[in-house]
């Protein structure tokens, strides 16, 4: 039986200038493009990602988070990821993207 590519589920919660996105699935080349295009960043200065249900972040995902950080810069915004698994944390740290993560509790 063929596996379908996993959809990325994006749940957005906006409170004023803070946007929290709970992600479920993978961040691969397909879903990463989708993520960037689906977020409304108007007036957002804090973009948080709850990564509890994210199984993998591939390099396409790293690029997407970087792109979002760059998109928020003109409006003085930042991106932070929390609840990343240890394996995913390792991916961010060994590529120099550790600053996007909330410090390990």
């Amino acid at each position: 039986m063929e596996e379908e590519n996993k959809e990325l589920k994006i749940e957005q919660f906006k409170e004023g200038y803070k946007l929290t996105c709970k992600l479920t699935g993978w961040l691969d080349p397909n879903t990463s493009t989708e993520l960037v295009s689906k977020l409304n960043l108007n007036g957002v200065t804090l973009l948080y990602f709850d990564m509890t249900n994210v199984e993998y972040v591939f390099s396409a995902g790293l690029r997407a988070f970087l792109m979002l950080q760059k998109m928020l810069e003109p409006q003085g915004g930042t991106v932070k990821l929390f609840n990343v698994s240890d394996d995913i944390r390792n991916i961010f740290e060994c590529t120099g993207f550790g600053s996007l993560l909330e410090p390990k509790a």
């Binding site: 063929e2 596996e3 379908e4 590519n5 996993k6 691969d28 080349p29 397909n30 993998y56 591939f58 390099s59 396409a60 790293l62 690029r63 970087l66 950080q69 760059k70 810069e73 240890d86 394996d87 390792n90 991916i91 060994c94 590529t95 120099g96 993207f97 600053s99 996007l100």
Partner: protein
């Protein structure tokens, strides 16, 4: 040099079309194969990630539109190394020759090129490349006694 020429499962390997739509199928195949051996969770995670980077690079860059774009994947466990090889008929290219991206750059200065292959090198213990019979063959390996 590691080789998957004599594979434990098939001699020919499994062929997928070189399309990112096939990613889930490719990674499921690799996960299922790795489950047969006692690799740590971290090793399995790292191999899946490295495999995704390699497969999606082939899907995006190896073929021009008028060629049947396929990737053949073989796996092997030998001498405490679990190896996966990726074979394609696309243009001759050794991704391991690329310069690594500057990972120390400040986030706002980051250049995003070469991240995929950089991850492959960091997450696996061995990487080899050969060009043989008009095919690129990229093989990654991880020690199983970690």
């Amino acid at each position: 040099m590691i080789s998957t020429e004599q594979s434990n499962n098939t001699l020919e390997g499994i062929t997928f079309s070189a399309d990112n739509k096939k990613l889930a199928e490719v990674l499921a195949f690799i996960k299922k194969d790795m489950a047969r051996y006692h690799l740590s969770e971290k090793s399995q995670f790292n191999m899946v990630t490295a495999a995704e980077e390699i497969f999606s690079n082939i899907a995006m860059y190896a073929y021009s539109s008028n060629k049947k774009a396929i990737v053949t994947i073989n796996t092997n466990l030998k001498d405490n190394v679990y190896a996966i090889s990726f074979k394609d008929n696309g243009k001759k290219y050794n991704p391991l020759e690329n310069n690594d991206p500057d990972i120390t750059a400040d986030i706002k200065d980051k250049n995003i090129g070469g991240l995929g292959i950089f991850l492959v090198k960091k997450l696996t213990d061995i990487q080899t490349y050969v060009y043989k019979n008009n095919q690129n063959i990229l093989t990654i390996g991880i020690y199983t006694n970690n």
